[in-house]
């Protein structure tokens, strides 16, 4: 099939170990020998077989990224950025989707973990105990989950939410609605309630529903019937549903109601009106996660907690409160 280290060795007139070193520890081989090996390798189109490498060294050169749903437009940019970062560090990224089901998550992790040097688990739904076991078995970085002693990337919406609250307040809003589309206690709701309260903004919570477009449609109908002048949605997709339904009901945005999303996905930038939203930088997140995992693989990341912030991106869906 492909060209092996042996062929390169004989072509360059050296032993296989020299060829191996030429690739893994170039400083341990004499410059001119190195040169010869490199030429031979290039001429033959050689590149090391990762299977053999990993079998021998226990190292695969890949990072595993386990996410709930790649179809959520929040993730592709993250995957992309992580790929770019990892490549520069000599790694490849293997992404897998769990379809938001715990059973699939376990199975997916089992399948992927054999082929990677470490795992990034995004918003895992696994019980803490399983996470702990996993962490004992292989380098693991948790995103938005906390387990004592494990490396963690914490994405904080706090700044973005505070900016949203200031933004609404400056526009004269006082009555706001939060459309919750997340079950469980790890959600965005708590932080939002606290911050809005601190800013003296009344906050009514709808839900929890599911994070779908239709949730927004439904919530908008409820909001239109009430007194609130601003809506903060669980994410951009839900916010888009809100926008859509308001348009249908003839409720002006932002004249009658202002709308804010979360994530700053492609959806937010391209909607009509464009959506004010809270951005979590894909580049920052991906870079931090990849670096943290690589450090953990190297044994110097264990238990470290990295933080990523957020900020408000004001667009056309927010404006002065009516009246």
């Amino acid at each position: 099939m492909a060209v092996t280290i042996k062929q390169v060795a004989s072509a360059a007139g050296v032993s296989v170990s020299t060829v191996s070193r030429a690739f893994t520890a170039p400083d341990q081989v004499q410059p001119q020998t190195l040169q010869r090996v490199r030429e031979a390798a290039a001429a033959l189109g050689y590149s090391p077989n990762p299977a053999a490498r990993s079998l021998r060294g226990g190292r695969t050169g890949s990072l595993g990224l386990i996410i709930p749903d790649i179809a959520n437009p929040f993730f592709p940019p993250i995957f992309k950025a992580m790929q770019a970062r990892a490549r520069r560090l000599g790694y490849t990224v293997l992404a897998a989707d769990t379809d938001e089901r715990e059973y699939d998550e376990l199975e997916t992790i089992a399948a992927v973990s054999k082929q990677v040097d470490g795992l990034i688990l995004w918003a895992s739904t696994l019980p803490e105990e399983r996470l702990r076991e996993l962490g004992a078995e292989m380098p693991t970085v948790l995103v938005n989950r906390h387990v004592e002693g494990m490396a963690e990337l914490r994405i904080s919406l706090a700044q973005g939410i505070a900016q949203a609250a200031e933004h609404l307040k400056a526009y004269g809003h006082t009555r706001c609605v939060f459309v919750n589309a997340e079950h469980g206690e790890h959600g965005r709701g708590k932080s939002i309630r606290e911050v809005f309260e601190a800013h003296d903004l009344s906050l009514t919570e709808l839900g929890p529903y599911d994070p779908r477009f239709e949730t927004g449609l439904h919530a908008a109908t409820l909001v239109a019937a009430g007194e609130a002048t601003a809506v903060l949605a669980h994410n951009d997709l839900v916010a888009l549903g809100v926008l859509h339904q308001f348009a249908k009901l003839g409720v002006g945005v932002p004249d009658r109601v202002s709308v804010i999303g979360i994530d700053d996905t492609l959806l937010a930038a391209t909607s009509t009106p464009s959506l004010t939203t809270i951005r979590i930088s894909a580049d920052e997140v991906a870079t931090a996660a990849a670096d943290l995992l690589i450090d953990t693989i190297a044994g110097r990341g264990e238990g470290r907690v990295a933080g990523i912030g957020s900020r408000l991106i004001p667009r056309a869906s927010t404006g002065p409160a009516p009246g």
Copy 2:
């Protein structure tokens, strides 16, 4: 590190080959032995090491999917569907993004190809000669590229476009614009021109530009200044730009102009107004591509050409021509 076939063998009181067979050819081992092996494996938490497997057998159990841009919302559902299909057939999917640059594409392919049993190349920008070389080296399926003798998946917009033309015609439109956002001769333009002509619809072409939101913004301004009553955009993203700019200019959709996109991404379903678009089924595409590649790997797919159709999804962005 992990538990090996050897440990399972001694735990079950059999030889390693029996354990191996228990996993790869269960029918060749006696039921009760099989049972014992399985229990031992389960008890120890054994699962085969893919690196060793692939080193030995030359088989990795992975399919490589090379796409131009995973951030294009068209691709995630395809990746997802392919993952689901591949998993049932005993394969894993490894996705990689080329960032639409030829240099990256070559490098990406080189990196990925060592770790997979075959490649699906989506809308490759590589010259035909390179594709041919690649096909000689490893099982390859081309999507939307044609090279004599290589397996190919052809996605045809013809039906969708014909339905769009009928749809517009039935609504009384006569003057249409196509916003071209693709360079090169493999584009969507040719088919569209032919079909619209056959339906007696005048078609003005704008561009070629780039497939971006801003392209739609720009094109909408041009269209608003003209007489056309219907716009067909290169894809949903561009169509969304058109929608956005029309809203800004106060051009009613669909009252003054009707708008049609292509791809039926999430963007189309969630826009305001919701976007009439031409759907290419992610499930069909992914299934066909995966099956074709697996057949090619098995030596019975070479040179086969599979076809996938498309259809119009009428939504709220199209309606009767004005006047």
